[in-house]
Structure formats: structure tokens, C-alpha cells
Assembly symmetry: C2
Homo-oligomer: 337 residues x 2
């Protein structure tokens, strides 16, 4: 059973994966390119994954068979285990608990050669709907406090399988950066009685502003944030204040998000020659429900420069590209209709 352990100084929880422990000799660098190797995520190989927990099959068909467009399966090598109790306990001054949680994979397309940015908007909408359906389901498990939805695209961004996919990890703790955001939003709300993200949206869209705007849709604003850690770090912010991603109320809202996400990924692809990237959906924790001070959003970070350990070790980032310049590049690149 993996363990969740808490750093006694800064309070950060980490997963210590005790069952697939890597010996020193196992740290040879991994590289991968588009190969013809066997892929368990491709259409026809459904029996090579654990049984699916969700699928979009527009033409119908049996579970774990063909005909799906989007498919969600438990991770075959999960970072956390779904069975068991948390068993919170001390080890002297340290705190730990069992590594209980869910770890699922959203296979975004049956085709090995399609990336998320290549999918038609209607298909991308179904991918986002799969995120929402799985988040809704995982929010019902009272052992979990957070459902983290994230994508690693490209080996340099941490993807270990090249077939386009997204991961969901449901955890009994709130990941540190999300907790910091929640705390920051609450402090701002206590001071101003307003949501900080709503204020950011208002300031970025005010007359004579707009220098950091990449694009807009009816319901979303795409910006380079004021103080980005990374070149071309890009945020997709819903204009309407909602704490949680999974409460997106109708398919029109999902479609608008799909449009904004596809447009943004295509702009990044054009400007940066199809970079590796990560995105993380920042949303409210499970138990807090519709908290008034938080505002869900999606953060995309292209992997352009290697993040040095000094930046991770100090939390101090040096960004060589002003967000105003990045926004201008991304506005100006032509995007197919």
C-alpha cells in the first residue's frame, strides 16, 4: 500500500509509492518517440486495460468493446489504491496515512495519432464531459477531499504513454498549491468581499487593458497571467463565477470551453512548434461545495525550459518572457477556423 506522508515543516503531502520502489539502477532516462509499439489505449486493445468506468459511444455498443470515442479506465499502475481506509497515524512528530485514492485515465481518442488539439470541437467537448462525469462520481466518495484533473503531453512533460490521455487522481488530501490558492482567495475575499479571479477578469478586460489577453469566447477569457512562472503560461478563466469545474451546467458551457481550449492549444502549437505541455484544472475541494471565494480555472504550462531544482527548491522563478509579449505572439499566430 502506498503511503501519504506530510512534511512536518511546510505541511506538504507526498505519495511514497512503496510497491513499485525504484532502485538506483532503475533511473536510466526514458525517451520515447512515435513508435509502432503496442499501445493499450488504441481501439481494438480494450481488453489490455482494466475494465472501463465510463465511455462515450455515440453509436452504442457494449462496454470494453469497440465503438467508443472517449474511454475512461482505472490506471493499471495506480499511484494510489482504491480499496482501504485512510488509517491516519503518527510516527513520532511525523504524520502519515494509507495511500488511498482513485487514479483514472481518460483516453481522449481511439486514434494513436491524434492529439487533443487535433480533435473536432464536438469530440473535445465529449472529453471535457468525461472529466465532468468522472469528477461528479468521485466527489461522492467521502474518503476523498480533492479530484485533480491534469494532462501531461509529451515525454518532456512527463507523459509515459504517447497516446493522448488525461489523468484524474482523487486524493484524501488537498494538493499544496491548490490549498494555497484557496487560502489566498479566502484572504482576498475577507478583505474585499470580492473574488480575486473576478477582479482579475475585470482588470484584464477593462478599457485600455487587454495586453495580456490571448482570446475570448462568450463564456471564457484566455490570458497570460500577470506574474507567470513560465514562458507562455496560459490561463483559461470562466467569466462566470463558479467554484467548481464539474458544476458546468450544460453542454453549451462545455462546448464553449472546448472551443477556447482547442483554440489555445492550436495557438501554442503554432507559436512554439507543438511544445510538450501540462494542464491542471484548478477547482474547489470535494467537501467545500460551492464556496463563494474560489473560482475554478484551467492552467496550461508549455514545457519550454527545464525547471531547475533551484526553482523547485526555492519557489523562486525567473521567467525570460514577459506575459505581454507572449500574449501578443499568441494573438498574432493564425489559427485555422
Amino acid at each position: 500500500m502506498p503511503e501519504l506522508r506530510k512534511d512536518p515543516v511546510v505541511g506538504r503531502w507526498v505519495i511514497i509509492s512503496t510497491e513499485r520502489s525504484r532502485r538506483p539502477t532503475n533511473f536510466t532516462p526514458t525517451t520515447h518517440e512515435k513508435t509502432s509499439h503496442f499501445c493499450p489505449f488504441c481501439a481494438g486493445n480494450e481488453e489490455k486495460t482494466p475494465p472501463e468506468v465510463y465511455a462515450y459511444r455515440p453509436g452504442g455498443g457494449a462496454p470494453n468493446g469497440p465503438g467508443w470515442k472517449v474511454r475512461v479506465v482505472p490506471n493499471k499502475f495506480p499511484a494510489l489504491q482504491i480499496e482501504g481506509t485512510l488509517d491516519r497515524r503518527a510516527e513520532g512528530l511525523y504524520d502519515k496515512m494509507n495511500g488511498v485514492g482513485a487514479h483514472e485515465v481518460v483516453i481522449e481518442t481511439p486514434s494513436h495519432d491524434q492529439d487533443l488539439a487535433d480533435l473536432p470541437v464536438e469530440h473535445l467537448e465529449q472529453v471535457l464531459n468525461a472529466y465532468r462525469e468522472r469528477a461528479l462520481d468521485l466527489h461522492r466518495d467521502r474518503r476523498f477531499r480533492y479530484v485533480l484533473i491534469f494532462k501531461n503531453h509529451g515525454a518532456q512533460a512527463g507523459a509515459t504513454l504517447e497516446h493522448s490521455h488525461t489523468q484524474l487522481i482523487a486524493t484524501p488530501i488537498i494538493p499544496k498549491i491548490l490549498q494555497e490558492e484557496l487560502d489566498g482567495c479566502r484572504r482576498y475575499f475577507e478583505l474585499k468581499e470580492r473574488c480575486v479571479f473576478c477582479d482579475i477578469i475585470q482588470q484584464e478586460t477593462a478599457e485600455n487593458a487587454g495586453r495580456r489577453i490571448v482570446s475570448t469566447t462568450d463564456r471564457f477569457l484566455v490570458i497570460e497571467p500577470f506574474a507567470p512562472r513560465f514562458p507562455f503560461e496560459t490561463w483559461i478563466l470562466p467569466r462566470q463565477h463558479d467554484a467548481s469545474f464539474h458544476v458546468l451546467s450544460d453542454i453549451g458551457e462545455l462546448k464553449d470551453l472546448a472551443t477556447a481550449l482547442k483554440d489555445t492549444l492550436q495557438r501554442l502549437n503554432r507559436a512554439l512548434d507543438r511544445p510538450p505541455f501540462n494542464f491542471v484544472i484548478h477547482t474547489a475541494p470535494v467537501s467545500d461545495g460551492d464556496i463563494e471565494y474560489y473560482h475554478w480555472h484551467l492552467e496550461i504550462t508549455p514545457t519550454l525550459s527545464r525547471v531547475a531544482g533551484f526553482e523547485i527548491g526555492s519557489g523562486f522563478y525567473i521567467n525570460p518572457t514577459p506575459p505581454e509579449d507572449a500574449a501578443q505572439y499568441l494573438r498574432e499566430v493564425a489559427v485555422e477556423a
Copy 2:
């Protein structure tokens, strides 16, 4: 002039380097190997760096000439500028200030082919003494709140020059992770009236403990921490409680630290085949002086797996190597006398 900008949600300051702005086409991956290219840090090329601010010349000799063993120079391409005032100001709800600071390079050896771990202990002691002397000097500048001392070793760990060196950045803000440590230590002290690092040392060295100890010297304890983010993350903790690195009182203490550091780097080299790594000295801020609740230390993180954006974006780390296993490997590798 670079800018320091503060994220309005989580309060993290980043450096936006406005003068060497990188266009999208400038993000081609950089690789480097031991080459015969010109190196400005090598003996004989002293005039290719800005004039030195410190040097160890055991045999004497003029500044910026030969004969040095350790040499400290301003960074030729500094992330922050030494001249100017902070000029703190608002941009609507955002906060920023001028990117004022010091950025120096400690050239650890005149030889291009020596790594820090290869230096004799007496030489390494002089490198550490150079850190201390420069930290002492930079602490006198009242514009600065923190002196960050860190090393990137190897291209994969962010080093852009292969000649072994350490960097010092003096900043008018406290880097985020250091601020979190300070806050965590203060909260623990308020609760317990004890230093959390002193308690960690006590627990790790207690009878029947020791599972996470790598090695010990008279004055230092080398451990794998209880909740490490990375495989083989290693901390060097002074047994005596001191808030600041630069108050190390005598050369004996520096020599003991040099011994512990050399031994640790050699163990990591043997166990992990000379990995790229980073270290960061965690020490008290400039203005806080000898605060009772903080305990300086050095954190080493080998670069074994790529850190995915999801981990940076969520603060949630999955570590495949339990620290107890890593400590055992490091204890068992043979180290030359």
C-alpha cells in the same frame, strides 16, 4: 530593468526578465557535453568575466589575475540588476517592483574538469567560506531580504555552463518556499516552544531509529527526509541550532560541513552514476537576524526523473523511492577515504 511581480492569489514573486526577452523561436532545447569550447571560468580567462568581488589566492597575487583557487564574480547576464531603487508600486490589483538584486557566481575551481565532489576537503572548505563571505557582505545591503545560495550541476539540472560553479542571488523578497518554511517553523515553535528541525534531528537519531540516516559527522547529520518530493532527496542538517548559514563561527565548522558535503555528493555519485543535481542552502532572511525558531540546512535534490508540470502545478509529488530505501543504498555504497 527586470521586474519583480507578485501573483495576486498565492503571493509568489517571480522575476520577469524584460531585457533578454525570449521570442518563441528562441526556445530550442539546449544540450551540452564536456567540450573544448572556450570557457570564461577557466584559469587564464579572468578578463572574460566581470571583475571579481572575492577570491581565495593561497599564494597571493593581484585580483583578476592567476593563482586563485576559488573566485567570485558578478554574473555577466544577471537575472536582477544591482543598481537602482525598488520603487514598489501597484498596477491595479497587482503588485510589482524593480528587479533590483545581486547575482553572483562562485567559480569553485580553476580547473574545467573538476566537479565539486572531486575537490579535496580543504578546497571545498574554501568554496563554502566564499559562500559565507559573500553572504555576509550581501547581508549589509538594506535593500535585500534574502540571499539565496544554490548550485545547478549538469545541464539537466539547469546548469548553462559546465565549469563547476555555485550561484548567489540576493533579492528584495523572500522566495516562496523559504517563506513557507519560516512560517511552518514559527507555527511549530509557537505550539511546542521547540525548533522543528531540532525535533527532527532528535527523532532521527534516537535509539532504534536511524533508518533515514545516510551519515553523520561531529556537527552534521545527513538524512533522507521523512516526506521527500524526489527520490534520493537528501538534507544536511547542522546538529547545533543556528538560524543562519553565514554565522558558522569558525573554520572547523566549515571543514566539517565540507566533509559532510563531499561524502554525500560522492555517495550520490556512486549510487546514481554521477547524477545531475541541485542544492539550495535554506537560511534565515536578512532582516530577521538570529530568529530562534528557524534552523538553517542544505537540501540536495538529484535530477532523476523529469518533474512534470502537473507536480509543479499542483504541488503534489509522487515519489517512487521510499527514503528508508534511499538511505540504505547511500549508506552501503563504498566511499573513498
